[in-house]
């Protein structure tokens, strides 16, 4: 955990392995360091901090940043400086601070402290801040981090030179190759990189323009907008177009898959959408995009298709077998009242009925439904979803099982009214018929939203 690491910051700072080097030069402030870097043609590194109001920043500065161990371990062709941002400044102090920080972009640092590494051309290569910064608990770790960026900075210089040369020689392929290598570096984006790519590769043969220009969640917003406008085909086509580009990162691809699935759900093509949601998850299993798409897919496709149990179900992770009711079972009612025949099928398949229940019996004694699994099956568990309202009416809900539809054996009884019941049978029961009914002395309506039976069908 980061906290534990940071807690060791002070101690670790005192015992620093380092490599002897000539000390790097220092710039008085941002302007000075940046001018010196341009003159000497070398990168510069800034420690941005609030030591006067943030004790950990002060400790880092004293124990690491200003330590000989740190400075001597850096290559000498780097310039160091620092920026201190004060707190609760008077008007005059604030003005002086603004003056001192001229040229530096405050918005490039979102949290304190931070280390910023700039190229000799003043381009910001990387900002180390937040969690990443907290993990730098020793001079050697800071040095290693900076050295890695400086290594990439050296490659960047080479690629930039190659780009210039290729342009001079009008070698488009060479320029595109160098641009591609430049983009692959784990550094902050180059200015106007897409425009540069467009000039040399108008058809985006590399796919870099699609990748760099991809709007991430804005793309999902766009698809949602198209869905809202009823432009469902356009939404799918746009997603397909992007899916044809192989350059996208896995995070981006998961999003595009999710967006297409989102559009398919709007067209009620749940099965097709469900396949895409699963593909998105496989594409980006640990990233925030993949996780979000998966959770969304579970709600809008997985659960309506009865493919997946809700996360809070006690049946999740249990050996309950497959859904054996969805594609096979039929059911009959003891009576019918207030129900909508179009909703009957939603009891075991597809989206839940909008009215909140799939069927509705009359108020009667022993109100029930009989589910015919169409074959003798091994029944292990049920998930029974109550009507959205009038939940209490199902308080005495009871399950009976039967092989012949005549002789019934009680298998489970509700202890109280619930929004849903996860019923894990004590041991598997072989049955073709399941009766779900109210076991009470007075008449009552029975109305349920969904019943999913899990177990094993005979081969």
């Amino acid at each position: 955990m980061a906290t534990r690491r940071t807690n060791g910051l002070i101690l670790a700072a005192l015992v620093v392995p380092f490599v002897l080097n000539a000390a790097p030069k220092t710039g008085e402030d941002f302007t000075g360091a940046s001018a010196l870097a341009e003159k000497e043609k070398c990168p510069f590194v800034i420690y941005v901090h609030g030591s006067s109001w943030h004790p950990a920043s002060r400790i880092f500065r004293e124990k690491i940043w200003e330590s000989a161990a740190f400075r001597e371990s850096l290559p000498d062709e780097v310039i160091l400086t620092e920026i201190h941002l004060g707190q609760q400044l008077s008007e005059e102090e604030a003005k002086a601070q603004v003056e001192k920080l001229k040229g530096w972009k405050r918005g490039t640092v979102r949290t304190f402290p931070a280390i910023q590494i700039f190229g000799n051309d003043g381009h910001l290569l990387k900002t180390i801040q937040g969690r990443e910064m907290r993990e730098l608990v020793s001079a050697s770790l800071v040095t290693a981090e900076i050295r890695e960026v400086l290594g990439h900075a050296a490659l960047r210089r080479d690629f930039l030179a190659a780009i210039v040369k290729a342009r001079e020689e009008k070698k488009r392929e060479g320029e595109l190759e160098a641009l591609s290598r430049l983009i692959e570096l784990p550094l902050d984006d180059e200015p106007k990189i897409i425009e540069q790519l467009k000039a040399v590769d108008p058809d985006d043969s590399t796919g870099w323009q699609a990748r760099l220009g991809f709007g991430n969640w804005e793309f999902m917003r766009r698809v949602s907008g198209l869905i809202k406008e009823g432009k469902l085909v356009e939404a799918v086509t746009e997603a397909d177009r992007l899916l044809s580009v192989s350059r996208h990162s896995s995070e981006q691809r998961a999003l595009i898959l999710g967006a297409k699935a989102h559009a398919l759900v709007a067209q009620d093509q749940l099965s097709e959408a469900w396949i895409l949601f699963q593909e998105a998850r496989e594409t980006d299993p640990d990233g925030p995009n993949g996780k979000a798409i998966w959770r969304y897919g579970l709600r809008v496709a997985g659960m309506p298709l009865r493919e997946i149990l809700p996360a809070d179900s006690v049946l999740t992770g249990k050996e309950i077998g497959a859904n054996i009711s969805r594609d096979h079972a039929r059911y009959s009612l003891s009576s019918e009242q207030h129900g909508n025949p179009e909703d009957y099928l939603t009891l075991m398949k597809g989206r839940h009925a909008k009215g909140g229940f799939a069927f509705h019996t009359a108020a009667e004694k022993d109100a029930n439904i009989v589910i015919d699994l169409q074959d003798a099956c091994e029944v292990r568990a049920l998930r029974i979803t109550n009507r959205s309202s009038q939940v209490a009416r199902a308080e005495s809900l009871t399950l009976w099982t039967s092989s012949d539809g005549t002789t019934w054996e009680k298998g489970w009884a509700s202890e109280s009214a619930q929004p849903a019941w996860d019923v894990l049978l004590k041991s598997p029961v072989t049955a073709r018929y399941l009766k779900l009914g109210l076991d009470r002395k007075t008449p009552e309506h029975l109305h349920l939203k969904a019943v999913d039976v899990y177990g094993k069908r005979p081969k």
């Binding site: 980061a2 906290t3 940071t6 807690n7 910051l9 002070i10 609030g50 006067s52 109001w53 943030h54 004790p55 950990a56 920043s57 002060r58 400790i59 941002l85 004060g86 707190q87 609760q88 979102r110 949290t111 304190f112 402290p113 937040g130 969690r131 907290r134 969640w217 804005e218 999902m220 917003r221 949602s224 907008g225 869905i227 809202k228 989102h262 925030p288 995009n289 996780k291 979000a292 798409i293 959770r295 969304y296 709600r299």
Partner: protein, 674 residues
């Protein structure tokens, strides 16, 4: 505003010491301990460590003060139970003042937020450890226990108070204290999530709950609207040891940050009507400021609490005179502390005090509390004092009027924070009696009391306009009374108040067609602005518009000052600026007559806006006839209408396709036909 205390601390100390020494009373620390014992016993702590905890607690008067005198205890037993749990986990905290203060704050806030002891301990441990390793703002070191209560409580949205969210904020939004007022914008304002689900439903954050490690990070990446953003900003400050609080505003959620000692800065705030989500006694901004100022002076707070304990001691012993006397010393010594005023009320109530004691409290409120906060002083008066000091009976309304007016005279500014003055005035009006005549007279008195400063007069007028409604006679009487009141205030600069009066009254009078009021108030206000220098050639007849009314659509918009509307139709000249399409400026003529011509002097700039506008005339103000369309305009327009033989009671200029007309003069000439 001066918050200095009288009598001085030294004098007060001598008083207190003499009270204890000369009368062989329990000492302040003994009384403190007695009160502390009461709540410790009430908690009925169990286990072998209970005695050791009590010993440590009672060995430290500072700790006892921290617990008892750092704002209200909503549930003393639970607070003590939490404090015991905190101490059990970290027995040495009693010897570390800073950690002890934080632990006490956590114990104090546990019950209000319904935290169990595990959560209370977690929050305390977070702040203790973060401070130990330097990861909190330096401000944290000098916070009072009272200020720490904001840290201990957390924000309104529970997800931000989790360990993961606090860690995220500590690492990713670590800023100088004043920068937290902008931290809400780390998250994007967006009503629908990328899937199109609204934030007002349950699905907005649902897909993202497992994408990041904390709720704070989810909000940072997904966005939200004012509620999420304000909670994000305030929670970021808290996680870094800077007190912050979220607050509700009409249709909005905002927050505030303690950017420097004693200074709370509202953030993302759109209104003064704020209800704080962590509040003590009451939730408005004024109460928040009062508590903050009171608790800032820790020594004074503790001393006045000592006095309250002494007063309670006397009361328990049956010495009501001393109890009242000492409660008065407390409130006069530290009037910012609400507890002192509440204690005075409690003592007077419990001791069945005479009316003169309540009158003394009334006078103290007016003298000591009203200058600090009109809101809180009125709350106290209305709830506790008026029922005791206001004479009852229909025939005693004059006496009530004087007493109620004394509050108006005691309040001269918003004090610690703007409040609902109009609402409180309305309550006072109701206390006068049932006669609307007497109520109106009181409002005139209140207007007179505030005329020169002109701070509360818009509220007073707004209330009275609402009360009067369409009753023209009553309005006319009110205006006459206001004029008389103002004329009595010789030597005072009343230009501001007449301006305010005109801004409110002129548009309403024009709307009603009330020429008398429009002319009276218009003339009164015309002294406040220069006559317009351009006087174009007139048309035959008299100035028919003079003596009438003039109105526009959306009077008082950002470019318009209605107090100058009168001058537009008079020789004096004035100005107006419309801000709605179709732009409309309507004159109800002072005299019905045969129109000979219209003279317009427009504002110097944007003269061309008049192109395309039309002059329309009407006999009744409802049926209009177009008589001229403007083109190729200049600043001065003279439209000769003598050939058209128009009889009119109303003339208007209307532009059908743009919102802005702005004249200095709109003069209608003709022959009177009344």
């Amino acid at each position: 505003m001066n918050f200095s205390r009288k009598p001085s601390c030294v004098a007060f100390g001598i008083f207190l010491a003499s009270a204890f020494l000369l009368h062989a009373l329990p000492s302040a620390n003994e009384l403190l301990k007695l009160e502390a014992q009461k709540i410790i016993q009430g908690a009925a702590l169990e286990g072998p460590e209970a005695a050791t905890f009590s010993k440590a607690f009672f060995a430290s008067p500072d700790w006892q003060h921290e617990l008892l005198d750092s704002g209200p205890l909503s549930d003393p037993s639970k607070t003590v139970t939490h404090l015991f749990a905190l101490w059990k986990g970290d027995p040495d905290l009693s010897a570390r003042p800073l950690d002890r203060a934080m632990a006490t704050a956590c114990a104090l806030e546990g019950p209000g937020k319904k935290y169990d002891s595990t959560e209370v301990v977690r929050r305390y441990s977070y702040f203790r450890d973060k401070w130990k390793f330097g990861f909190l703002n330096a401000m944290y070191e000098n916070l009072s226990v009272f200020e720490r209560r904001y840290l201990a409580r957390g924000v309104q949205h529970g997800g931000f108070n989790s360990a993961e969210s606090m860690e995220y904020h500590n690492q990713e939004v670590c800023l100088p204290s004043e920068a937290y007022t902008g931290a809400c914008w780390y998250a994007r304002w967006i009503l629908h999530n990328p899937f199109g689900d609204s934030i007002h439903g349950p699905l907005y954050y649902h897909p993202f709950q497992e994408s990041w490690e904390s709720y704070a990070e989810v909000v940072r990446n997904v966005g939200g609207v004012c509620g999420s953003l304000s909670n994000f900003g305030a929670a970021a400050a808290l996680a870094n040891g800077v007190p912050g609080v979220t607050m509700g505003e009409p249709g909005h959620c905002a927050y505030a940050i303690l950017t420097k000692p004693g200074h709370w800065q509202p953030a993302y705030s759109l209104s003064w009507k704020r209800g704080l989500h962590t509040s003590f006694h009451h939730g408005s901004w004024g109460w928040h400021m009062l508590n903050t100022k009171a608790q800032q002076d820790v020594a004074a707070t503790r001393k006045s609490a000592d006095l309250r304990r002494l007063s309670s001691y006397y009361l328990a012993k049956g010495n009501v005179t001393k109890a009242r006397e000492i409660s008065r010393v407390a409130r006069l010594d530290h009037p910012l502390a609400w507890e002192n005023w509440q204690h005075s009320v409690d003592v007077l109530t419990e001791s069945k005090a005479h009316e003169k004691d309540w009158q003394e409290l009334h006078q103290d409120v007016l003298k000591m509390l009203a200058p600090l906060s009109g809101e809180i002083s009125f709350y106290l008066l209305n709830k506790h004092v008026y029922p005791q000091v206001l004479p009852k009976g229909e025939d005693r309304s004059d006496e009530r009027r004087k007493i109620l007016l004394s509050f108006q005279k005691a309040v001269s500014d918003w004090g610690l924070g703007r409040w609902d003055f109009r609402g409180d005035l309305s309550k006072q009006v109701a206390l006068i009696g049932k006669e609307s005549k007497e109520q109106d007279a009181f409002i005139v008195d209140a207007f007179g009391a505030h005329a020169e400063k002109n701070l509360f007069t818009p509220d007073i007028l707004a209330l009275q306009m609402e009360r009067v409604g369409d009753d023209e006679k009553r309005l006319s009487q009110f205006m006459t009374a206001i004029a008389q009141t103002l004329s009595k205030q010789k030597g005072a600069d009343l230009s501001n108040v007449t301006d305010t009066l005109a801004r409110t009254v002129l548009p309403q009078a024009a709307k009603r067609g009330d020429k008398a009021t429009f002319q009276y108030i218009g003339k009164l206000t015309s002294k406040n602005y220069e006559s317009h220098p351009i006087s174009p050639e007139t048309f035959p007849g008299i100035l028919l518009s003079s003596g009438g009314t003039f109105g526009i659509q959306k009077p008082g918009n950002r470019w318009d000052n209605p107090s100058r509307h009168w001058g537009v139709i008079e020789e004096h000249g004035g100005d107006f600026h419309t801000d709605a399409t179709p732009a409309t400026a309507t004159v109800q003529l002072g005299n019905y007559g045969r129109v000979t011509g219209v003279v317009i002097v427009t504002r110097g700039g944007n003269v061309g806006r008049l192109n395309g506008a039309q002059i329309e005339t009407s006999i009744d103000g409802e049926n209009w006839k177009s008589v001229h369309t403007f083109s190729k305009v200049s600043q001065v327009q003279r439209i000769d209408l003598s050939d058209q033989k128009i009889d009119a009671g109303f003339v208007r200029v209307i532009h059908p396709s743009q919102p802005s007309l702005h004249f200095h003069k709109l003069h209608v000439y003709g022959h009177k036909k009344n």
